[in-house]
Each structure stands twice: as structure tokens, then as C-alpha cells.
């Protein structure tokens, strides 16, 4: 199969790439009866189906969970019979007060800055796409890449808590238990990761392309 001289995007040429193996195939005729990739038999979509709506749903769910994740305690430290509940922020404050600026910074960035910036970034991207914004598509794509790549690092806090819970089991002397906040925090991280996956960055460029067409 010899490809014709190419100009414009694949979509303009009636082609779409398989999401799995990257095979260029003709765009399926109907949305509700999609074709399968001739090479890997994965479903073929020109764009990820319902990308905006799914991402919105996940982002909203993550935003809701973000509040209990930060307000509820993540660790319940029992030291000599006295139980102390710590939220993420109180842990950060504790490390600042004890002078461990480095650890405080790591926890603060990984557990507070990253999730919230992810959420803000995703919401911003979604709104910009729905408004068919043509503003700085390249930077927005880069922002998406960053969101996608740092997402997993937010699980740091969850890992720390689970390791602590497993390690500190000294009976009456000292025990650490995971608080309810960890579950919500984990939910936020996972939901934002999935949201980043369902988001189709090509939509950023669609607006640019279509308006280009209109202008042309």
C-alpha cells in the first residue's frame, strides 16, 4: 500500500491512529459501531471516546475526595497510650517545627502541591478545550505531559503511611495506624491519574486545526 502524498493531519486525510499499536487506519464510519484495528484488533477511534466528559467526571470526583483527604487524619499515632491523629498538613507543620525542612518540603510538594496542581491543570485544560481556546497549544500540551508524568509520585504519602503502619507495631509503646484520610488521598491520586489517561491531548490541537480551517 503506497501512501499518497501527505498534507495536513491524519484526520484531515480521513485516517486515525490505533491507540494501542499506532497503526494508521481509515476513520470508522459510525461512532457507535467502531471498526477494529486491522493489526491489533483494538477498537479504533479518531479521538478517545467521551474524553472530555469522562475526564470531567473523574476530575470532579477527585476534587470532592480532595477535601476529606486533607481534612481527615492520615495517621493515628499511639504513643504510650496517647493517640494523636495527624492530617497531611499537620504532619508537614510538625516537620517544619522540628526543623526537618527537607522532609517537610517533600511531603508538602508530593502530597499537597502536586495533587492540587494536577486538578487545577486538568480543569484548566478541560475548560480551554470546551471553549475551543487557541491559546498556546504547545504549552498546554507540555502541561498535560507534566501532569501525566508526575501523577504517580503523589502516591508517595500513601506508601509512607503503609510502610509506617507495617513497621511501627510496638504494642502499648507505640503504634501507627492508617487514618481514613489515606483512602481518600489514594482515591484522589488514582482518580487524577485515570483522568489524565482519559484526557485526549489531541483535542487541544483540534480547536487550533478547525479554526485554522475556518480562517483559511
Amino acid at each position: 500500500m503506497t501512501l499518497p502524498p501527505v498534507s495536513g493531519t491524519a484526520a484531515e486525510n480521513g485516517l486515525c491512529a490505533c491507540h494501542v499499536c499506532g497503526f494508521l487506519a481509515p476513520v470508522p464510519a459510525r461512532q457507535d459501531a467502531p471498526d477494529r484495528c486491522p493489526r491489533c484488533t483494538a477498537l479504533l477511534h479518531p479521538r478517545k471516546p467521551n474524553s472530555i466528559s469522562r475526564t470531567w467526571a473523574l476530575v470532579i470526583a477527585a476534587t470532592i475526595f480532595y477535601f476529606p483527604a486533607n481534612l481527615l487524619p492520615v495517621t493515628l499515632t499511639t504513643y504510650l497510650g496517647q493517640t494523636q491523629a495527624d492530617t497531611i498538613m499537620s504532619g508537614v507543620i510538625f516537620f517544619i517545627q522540628t526543623g526537618s525542612w527537607g522532609i517537610a518540603l517533600i511531603i508538602f510538594v508530593a502530597s499537597i502541591v502536586v495533587p492540587i496542581s494536577k486538578l487545577i491543570a486538568l480543569i484548566g485544560l478541560l475548560i480551554s478545550i470546551q471553549r475551543r481556546s487557541r491559546w498556546r497549544p504547545r504549552e498546554r500540551t507540555r502541561l498535560f505531559r507534566i501532569v501525566e508524568s508526575i501523577g504517580r509520585w503523589s502516591m508517595l504519602d500513601v506508601f509512607v503511611v503503609s510502610i509506617l503502619v507495617a513497621l511501627v507495631r510496638l504494642g502499648y509503646l507505640s503504634t501507627i495506624e492508617a487514618g481514613p484520610g489515606v483512602i481518600y488521598f489514594g482515591a484522589v491520586v488514582i482518580l487524577t491519574m485515570i483522568a489524565a489517561m482519559t484526557f485526549d491531548p489531541r483535542l487541544i490541537w483540534d480547536a487550533v486545526e478547525t479554526t485554522d480551517d475556518k480562517n483559511a
Binding site: 466528559s53 473523574l58 470526583a61 497510650g81 496517647q82
Partner: protein, 582 residues
């Protein structure tokens, strides 16, 4: 680029449009935010339901209270959390803001009590040891349901001594001084701990201390209007005309103080005289022991004796005594006795100078309690009349030495039927009771009288008589029969001397000689022994035998020496034998 979509329009135009029913399915993905929203709403509702009222408790200090950590507990159940701790506006106190659990909302009324539970090591008890490890918490006693709801409380630094739900009864005492009592000090009845001091405060006029005690359930029935409370704390050492008195309660109350009470079997009028308003009209019936009303204030006596004596304190008559003698040892509180029984006490001892006559007088004011000798009328006239009659029959007051070691004296009322007649003089602020000079003063005077008599004795004549008697004795001695008797005795003495003199001259030197020889032999034996020891060595049995022999010899010599000594001292022993008891 020839594809089916391009040829389709024709067919679509010609053919009737198929009914394309877009499945208006609810996209599954939106279940996730819906669930999230439900969970979130659930959390919010839970948080709202679990959040009770926010209250402010004011403490003197926030020692060991940590915002966000310290809990508020009732019966060791967590009912609240300290949120913030801040200083009051004038920096004098600490305001603790706490959120309480909602079920306590109706019990946060004006009589709710808060205090800080810390490890406390007070005399007699150790509490809150658990807080050493777990940190302190705020204890609370919920208020009464239905009273005015309050959100501002002032916290106590110590736990209340008595909890509201403890069965028992509260009593009010009044004392001059607090002594070693404090909140929490025990209350004893027959040395059984039945309650504790729940509150201590100064009387509003500053003239005394008001003490609230709480007596627990089965024992509060023991308290009646006839109950006397006394301070059982500490050691009571009392040196008075009665001698040295040492009153020791149980060791525990010796250390930490306490209040004890007893109920008098047969008291006179009600002793608890404090505010007369509180005494109910039926209190005069002598035999009933009516329950104690809340307003009655008992007197807290300093000691059991004081409480015992208190039954007569209700009514006193004051008299002045003028002593023209040394009143050293007569102190305030010294008893006034009649035939050894206390009927009153000395109230004041002063010294006054009569400026016109330049004479000193010592007015001693005494209080006589007529109740002590069975007169319960509380009218001065009756008592005065009675005392007047007694004075006519010779009743006088005098100062007596009560205790010769301590020098304390007391006032004794004694009948002197032969005393010059006197009466009770009225006119001054107090009636003046006639006095007699004290016994010691009397001793001085009688000794002086004896000396005067001695000086008036006919000494010259007596001496002449004695001389005459002596001459008569001389004459008797000078008679012949006496002389011959004495001569006889003299001769028998000289004979006896001769016998003993012989003994001295002959026997003793011989014994001495014998001794010398024995000594010499002994010395020689010793020398020989030493030589033998050198020759044969110490291990030989012979040496041992010789040593023993030598010792035996020494013993023998010692015995002979003793005999010689004895003979030297008692030469007659050779004739009469050694006496049984020399």
C-alpha cells in the same frame, strides 16, 4: 478517496430515514463523581452531627494542656477535644476552647465543672498516675439537665473533692483558723474516713473560715444538731495548769490533717450558736436529734476537748478579780475551778496603775459558765443572787499553783467560812468577786509568822536549863560504881590485846617467810622451765605439763597470799576461826 460515505447521501436522501434512537444512556463514568459526592455529603453530615457545642473554659494556667491533643473526659469517656488555647484579653488567665460531643449539649449548664487531671501526689493519696504517660486531660462533671445552658466555664485547678452523684450530705462548718485543713482533707467519724472537705473559703466579713464538708451516704445520718466537729489535724500539745497534754490522732490525719466529729449524748442547749437565724424553732426540744438543715453552720472546734467543753460555752458571766500578788503563770484560758472541777476560765489578765495612789492592781477577768454547775437560767440576776449567797458563806477566789513544773496557775473558788465577810461589788463594767491571797502568799506569811515566834522564844532561860541538866549528868558519871566497872573492862581489854599481840609477833613472820620461799621456788621453776623449753622445743608434752604445774603453783601462791592478807587484817581468826561473814 472514493469511499462509501461519499455515495451515501443519495441513498439517505431517497430512502426513508431510519429511526436512529440514540441510547440516552447515563454515561457510566459519571457514577464515579456521584459516588464521590455521596461519600463527601455523608462525611459532612457525619462531621456536623458529631460536632457538639464549642465551649470556653478559663484556667489559671495551661500547664500540660496541648491544643488538638488534650481531651475532655467524663467517667474516662472522651466527650470533647481541646481546639485552641489562648490568653485572656488581660493576660491574667488562659482560655481553652474545646468542642464537645453533641450528646453533652444539654448538660453543659451553669453547674458543670471542669478541672485538669494531672498526676498529683498529695499527702494521703496519689491520683492521676496514668496521666504521667498519656498526658493530662480535662475532667468534667456534667451540669444538671434543665439548668441554664452556658458556654463559658471557669475551670478548677484541682478536681472537686466531691462529685455530684455521690450520695451523702453537705455540711457547713465555721472555724477561726483553717489549720492544716485543705480541700480534700478527710473527715473521720470514730476514726473511719466518712467524707472529705469539699470547699474552703473565707467568711465574707473576714472573721473566720467557712468550711464545707461532704459526708458520704451511710454516715451522714450520724450528723445531727448535737454533733460537734473538731479539727483532728496535727499534734495537740497543751501545757496548762492541767499539765502536759499530748493529743495524737491517727498517723494519717497527723500528716494531712482532718476533721473529726462526735455526737454528744447529753448536751445542754444547742452549742452551734453561729447564726441564730438558722436554728429552727424545734431545736429546743432536748432529746430529739432533728436532721440538719442546709443552712445550719456548725462550729469547728480546735480540739476534741474544746468540742467537749463547748456545751457550756453558750452562756457566760464575767467577773473581775483583783489580785495584789504576783500573777505570773496565770494565763488567758487558765481554768477557774471549784473543788477541782472547771466552772469557767480566765479571759484576760492585765495590769493597771492607779495614778492617784501610785498603786498597781491586776484585774483578772474570768468567765463563769453557770451551765457547768447545773444552772441553765440565762439571766445575770439569778446567777448574781446565787453567787452573792455563796460569797456570804465564804466563797472566795484565789490563785493557786496548778503545776509546779510548768509554773502554770489557775483560779480556784474555795469556801473560807472564817474569812472576813465580803460581797460582790458591782458598779464597774464587771462585778468584782472577792479574792483571797494565794496559797504561796500564805506560805510566805506563815513562814514569816513562825520566824517571828522563833525570835520571841526565851532562849536564855532554856540554855541555863540545859546547862543544869548537864551538870547533873556529870555528877552521875563521877560516882564510884561507874569507875570500878570501867576498870574491869580495861583489864579484860589488855588481856585480849596480849593474846593478839603474841599472834602478831610469832605466827605472821613465819607465814611471810614461807611465802618468800615459795616465791623463790617459783622463780627458779620458771627459769628451769624456760631452759627446758629452749632445750626440748615447745612441742614436747613435758613442756605443757611443766607449764600447767607452774600455773598450779602460781595459784597456790596466790591462795597463800590471800590467807596471809586475811590473817594480817584479822589476826583473831587463828583463835576464833574464819568468820562466816567476815
Amino acid at each position: 478517496m472514493t469511499k462509501t460515505p461519499e455515495s451515501a447521501p443519495d441513498a439517505q436522501d431517497t430512502l426513508p430515514h431510519p429511526l436512529i434512537r440514540r441510547a440516552r444512556r447515563f454515561p457510566v463514568i459519571w457514577v464515579i463523581p456521584l459516588v464521590a459526592a455521596l461519600i463527601g455529603a455523608g462525611l459532612i453530615i457525619k462531621a456536623l452531627r458529631e460536632t457538639g457545642p464549642t465551649i470556653t473554659i478559663v484556667f489559671d494556667s495551661a500547664e500540660s494542656l496541648v491544643p488538638g491533643k488534650t481531651q475532655i473526659r467524663y467517667k474516662d469517656v472522651v466527650v470533647g477535644d481541646v481546639e485552641t488555647i489562648q490568653l485572656s484579653d488581660d493576660l491574667s488567665r488562659v482560655e481553652v476552647v474545646a468542642t464537645m460531643s453533641p450528646e453533652l449539649t444539654h448538660y453543659l449548664t451553669e453547674d458543670a465543672v471542669f478541672w485538669v487531671v494531672r498526676a498529683r501526689v498529695a499527702a494521703g493519696e496519689v491520683t492521676g498516675i496514668g496521666t504521667l504517660l498519656s498526658g493530662s486531660y480535662i475532667g468534667m462533671e456534667p451540669g444538671t439537665h434543665g439548668k441554664k445552658a452556658v458556654r463559658h466555664f471557669s475551670g478548677l485547678e484541682k478536681p472537686p473533692a466531691v462529685f455530684r452523684d455521690t450520695p451523702g450530705q453537705q455540711f457547713h462548718l465555721r472555724a477561726d483558723r483553717l489549720g492544716s485543713l485543705d480541700i480534700g482533707s478527710p473527715v473521720y467519724y470514730r476514726q473511719v474516713r466518712v467524707g472529705r472537705v469539699s470547699n474552703v473559703q473565707m467568711a465574707t466579713d473576714g472573721t473566720g473560715v467557712l468550711i464545707e464538708i461532704f459526708v458520704e451516704d451511710p454516715y451522714h445520718h450520724q450528723v445531727s444538731r448535737k454533733t460537734r466537729f473538731y479539727n483532728a489535724s496535727g499534734l495537740n500539745v497543751n501545757i496548762s495548769a492541767n499539765g502536759l497534754q499530748l493529743d495524737t490522732p491517727s498517723v494519717a490525719s497527723l500528716l494531712i490533717g482532718g476533721i473529726s466529729f462526735f455526737t454528744v449524748e447529753d448536751a445542754g442547749p444547742a452549742p452551734n450558736s453561729a447564726p441564730p437565724v438558722s436554728i429552727r424553732p424545734d431545736s429546743d426540744t432536748p432529746d430529739s436529734a432533728p436532721p440538719v438543715s442546709d443552712t445550719l453552720i456548725f462550729t469547728l472546734y480546735d480540739s476534741r476537748d474544746a468540742a467537749n467543753a463547748a456545751s457550756y460555752n453558750s452562756y457566760r458571766e464575767y467577773y473581775l478579780l483583783y489580785f495584789d500578788e504576783n500573777v505570773r503563770g496565770l494565763s488567758v484560758g487558765a481554768p477557774v475551778e471549784f473543788q477541782g472541777i472547771k466552772i469557767g476560765e480566765v479571759v484576760s489578765v492585765r495590769l493597771t496603775l492607779d495614778q492617784e495612789n501610785l498603786s498597781f492592781r491586776v484585774p483578772v477577768r474570768i468567765a463563769i459558765e453557770p451551765g457547768r454547775f447545773g444552772i441553765h437560767e440565762k439571766s445575770p440576776e439569778v446567777v448574781r443572787e446565787l453567787l452573792d449567797a455563796l460569797v456570804k458563806r465564804g466563797l472566795r477566789a484565789e490563785q493557786r499553783m496548778g503545776n509546779f513544773i510548768t509554773g502554770q496557775s489557775y483560779v480556784s473558788m474555795t469556801f473560807y467560812p472564817n474569812a472576813p465577810p465580803k460581797t460582790i461589788q458591782t458598779g464597774g463594767p464587771y462585778p468584782v468577786f472577792p479574792t483571797m491571797p494565794s496559797a504561796i502568799e500564805e506560805v510566805y506569811t506563815s513562814v514569816r509568822r513562825i520566824m517571828e515566834q522563833v525570835s520571841r522564844l526565851p532562849l536564855e532561860e532554856t540554855l541555863a536549863d540545859i546547862r543544869k541538866a548537864a551538870q547533873q549528868v556529870e555528877q552521875t558519871i563521877g560516882s564510884d560504881s561507874l569507875k570500878s566497872a570501867i576498870e574491869n573492862i580495861n583489864t579484860s581489854f589488855s588481856q585480849f590485846k596480849k593474846v593478839t599481840g603474841d599472834l602478831d609477833a610469832t605466827t605472821l613472820p613465819k607465814i611471810n617467810e614461807m611465802l618468800e620461799q615459795a616465791k623463790k621456788a617459783l622463780a627458779e621453776g620458771e627459769v628451769a622451765l624456760a631452759r627446758a623449753g629452749n632445750v626440748m622445743g615447745q612441742t614436747e608434752p613435758l613442756v605443757h605439763n611443766l607449764n600447767q604445774l607452774l600455773m598450779n603453783l602460781q595459784d597456790a601462791v596466790r591462795t597463800i597470799q590471800a590467807l596471809a592478807d586475811y590473817l594480817e587484817r584479822h589476826p583473831d581468826a587463828i583463835v576464833f576461826g574464819k568468820g562466816e561473814t567476815p
